[in-house]
């Protein structure tokens, strides 16, 4: 589904991604772990097309398309979704309207008919249960005044409604208590299918107790220092990141 090859990216003069290669097939969940500042979030932002990062080398192919040549909205319309680490507040714009606009743009791009407000309400209501959010939140402004947990659940709601092919979860677990974490993880697990893929970026292993990855990659200083199965996450939890940096780089 997605093929990342020798990806380099920088902010201003500073290189943050120093050659990342990664392949994720449909139906898979990959986890990216790593210490603070290793470039995890940068990778997530670059895949979503954040204008603040400059890709200096490498390629990303998504379902045969050159992802890096696409605008952020084209990526979204093509089925790429980023659950933000810090979801943005848009005061005055209702959640329902925001989400329906996004939903319809993606439908249009797929050549499907747009949903009117009533049809859309049906779709959303069903998905709300998935993340245990109240319908009243649809009338609130996008993320404005939401608690940290509400914001993260709202991201998963958007994920559920927009039904992407490739979803990136950028530290969705940070700042969540165990109950909220479970809700978020359950949501993701239920959305998991044979024709979609997830890239879960996280600092801690605990999310991976609930979302079980097929592969785990450890990012250190802009490079994948080690890859392995789900047991790698547990090992990291026990031994810390220093262990990875100390040992020689294993094959990717």
């Amino acid at each position: 589904m997605i093929h990342i090859s020798e990806l380099h990216a920088s902010v201003g003069e500073k290189e943050i991604l120093k050659g990342i290669s990664l392949e994720i097939a449909a139906g898979e969940i990959h986890a990216i772990m790593g210490p603070n500042g290793s470039g995890k979030s940068t990778l997530a932002q670059v895949l979503a097309g954040h204008p603040g990062y400059e890709v200096t080398a490498g390629t990303v192919t998504y379902n045969g398309q050159d992802l890096l040549a696409m605008d952020p909205e084209e990526r979204a319309q093509a089925g790429v979704f980023l659950a933000f680490q810090y979801p943005v507040e848009i005061p005055g714009v209702s959640n329902a309207y925001f989400l329906r606009s996004a939903y319809n743009e993606i439908r249009k791009a797929r050549g499907e008919a747009e949903a009117d407000p009533l049809e859309f309400l049906d779709i959303v209501s069903e998905r709300l249960k998935l993340v245990d959010l109240d319908e009243a939140m649809l009338n609130r402004s996008v993320n404005a005044g939401f608690s940290g947990g509400e914001k993260k659940r709202n991201e998963i709601l958007q994920l559920a409604v927009l039904d992407p092919r490739f979803a990136i979860l950028d530290e969705t677990d940070s700042g969540l208590d165990i109950d909220a974490l479970r809700i978020v993880a359950d949501g993701v697990n239920r959305l998991r299918r044979k024709d979609n893929a997830f890239l879960v970026v996280t600092h801690y292993q605990r999310l991976l107790n609930y979302i079980v990855p097929d592969r785990v990659h450890v990012l250190v200083d802009g490079r994948i220092a080690r890859s392995g199965g789900k047991e790698l996450a547990l090992e990291l939890e026990e031994r810390g990141y220093d262990w990875v940096t100390a040992e020689p780089v294993a094959g990717v």
């Binding site: 097309g49 204008p51 909205e73 979704f81 005055g92 996004a102 927009l162």
Partner: protein, 477 residues
């Protein structure tokens, strides 16, 4: 991102056409003779002429105020014509007898004046240059005892009401531009809603400046008697011309005990071109007096004019009176707006709310100037003010000048203001969900203005939407 925002703010002015029509105009210049000539053309009674002359004499002793944060070339008051009316006077019978050229003009402005095609639920008084050319639904309204007519007609037919309330809120000596208006005002609208009557439809005046080198000086007086309710809308446009034109209006609102007056404006006078040439100089005095238990609410969307100088205010005269001011002001290119409100708390337990949203783009300068004054007797007065600015680009300015003057210790006054820009992060977030940059900007701007738009009647909300090129669905209601 700036390209998306530019698309949004650089929309063409679609009302810039002019109508070629023969006019009865006074030659440029202002003296006592001109004041008399205007009064004579309107066949006014002696008391009206006397009032105008008093105002004129007062005006001659006054100087143009320059305390506001706007700069403009000196206005030559002798170069302006103070009266211009289409030769084909107002139809006596049906509106269908109206000069087709004028009717076409209003059609193009989206205000049909044909008896068959009238806007549903909105009565319109159409003011073309210095005169009212027609008022719709008059008979329908009369059944409810509501008087809605041109100011000139009111002077003839309801002199007792006009004499009683004219100048009772904005005296002719109030300020330079109000004095000028009082001397030379030509027409405008008059509304009287009797005791206990809820006006059955929205009332509206549509002002159109057509003639070149004339000033527009309309005067509006709205009186809601005890327990009455009225919602009034004002719209305005002018042709694109390369010279500046002066517009100095006065609006007086009177809300007697327990009455409600809601006054909404979408101000879209020609703003001048990208270089700042032409456009209307808009110097307007709007004020309401709210008696016991009454409510006066101003809502304005200010997008036009080269210069805007306007402070719709409320004197909270009676106990338990309420005043509101909701404003969106947009400046672009070389536009300058100095606008805001005054809430003067006189009575006890009076309450006021101010919500102001300023958007500055291009080389525009937007100033919020507001005064909240609590007089010594105004026990338990309450004010809440929120004043937000958004800047688009780096050559524009946003200024806030809030004056909070409190002389009663039982008052609670709160003022909050913020300035921000459309965040790159907000735009990226929207794009990452599949929205285009334009959609993102339009959505963010409408969200910013939401609290004001939700105060507008639906007809005006739609017009505001069109004007600002923004979407209201996500931000209204």
């Amino acid at each position: 991102m700036s390209s998306e925002i530019e698309l949004l703010v650089n929309k063409d002015y679609q009302y810039g056409f002019s109508t070629d029509i023969e006019a009865d105009a006074l030659p440029p210049g202002l003296n006592e003779g001109v004041v008399r000539a205007i009064s004579e053309r309107k066949r006014e009674p002696e008391w009206m002429l006397e009032w105008r002359l008093k105002a004129f004499r007062r005006w001659q002793q006054m100087t143009e105020p320059h305390w506001s944060n706007v700069n403009y070339p000196a206005i030559d008051y002798q170069a302006i014509s103070y009266y211009s009316a289409p030769r084909t006077a107002k139809p006596l019978g049906s509106l269908d007898e109206l000069d087709p050229k004028i009717r076409d003009t209003y059609d193009r402005l989206g205000i049909p004046l044909h008896e068959q095609k009238l806007l549903a639920g909105v009565a319109v008084d159409a003011v073309f240059d210095s005169v009212s050319v027609g008022t719709t639904y008059k008979e329908e309204l009369r059944k409810h005892g509501v008087i809605f007519c041109s100011f000139g007609e009111a002077v003839q037919e309801h002199p007792e009401l006009v004499r009683r309330y004219l100048g009772s809120v904005v005296p002719y000596s109030d300020n330079f531009f109000a004095a000028l208006n009082s001397a030379v005002f030509s027409d405008g609208s008059f509304v009287y809603v009797p005791k206990g009557v809820r006006c059955p439809m929205e009332l509206s005046t549509y002002f159109r400046i057509n003639a070149a080198d004339t000033g527009q000086f309309e005067r509006t007086l709205i009186v809601a008697d005890e327990g009455a309710y009225v919602s009034y809308l004002e719209g305005c446009t002018a042709p694109k011309r390369s010279t500046n034109q002066l517009h100095a209006a006065v609006v007086e609102l009177v809300a007697l005990d327990r009455a409600t007056v809601k006054y909404s404006t979408v101000q879209n006078w020609y703003a001048g071109d990208e270089e700042g040439r032409g456009g209307i100089f808009n110097f307007v005095t709007k004020r309401g007096k709210a008696f016991a238990g009454s409510k006066i609410s101003w809502t304005q969307v200010e997008t036009g004019s080269a210069i805007t100088w306007k402070y719709p205010s409320v004197i909270l005269q009676g106990d338990h009176a309420t005043g509101e001011f909701y404003s969106v002001a947009v400046v672009n290119n070389h536009q300058q707006a100095d606008t805001g409100t005054k809430m003067i708390h006189v009575g006890r337990n009076t309450k006021s709310t101010i919500v102001s949203k300023g958007i500055s783009a291009g080389r525009g300068n937007n100033s919020y100037r507001g005064q909240v004054k609590v007089l010594p007797k105004a026990a338990n007065a309450r004010n809440y003010t929120q004043c937000d600015s958004m800047l688009i680009g780096n050559r524009c300015g946003a200024h806030t000048f809030p004056y909070v003057e409190v002389q009663n210790n039982t008052a609670i006054v709160e003022h909050e203001a913020s300035t921000s820009k459309i965040g790159e992060d907000q735009i990226f977030y929207c794009k990452a969900r599949g929205l285009s940059g334009e959609q993102a900007v339009s959505m963010i701007v409408s969200g910013f203005c939401r609290e004001v738009f939700k105060e507008l009647p639906m007809e005006f909300a739609l017009e505001a939407q069109q004007l600002l090129g923004i979407t209201l669905e996500g931000s209204v209601g």
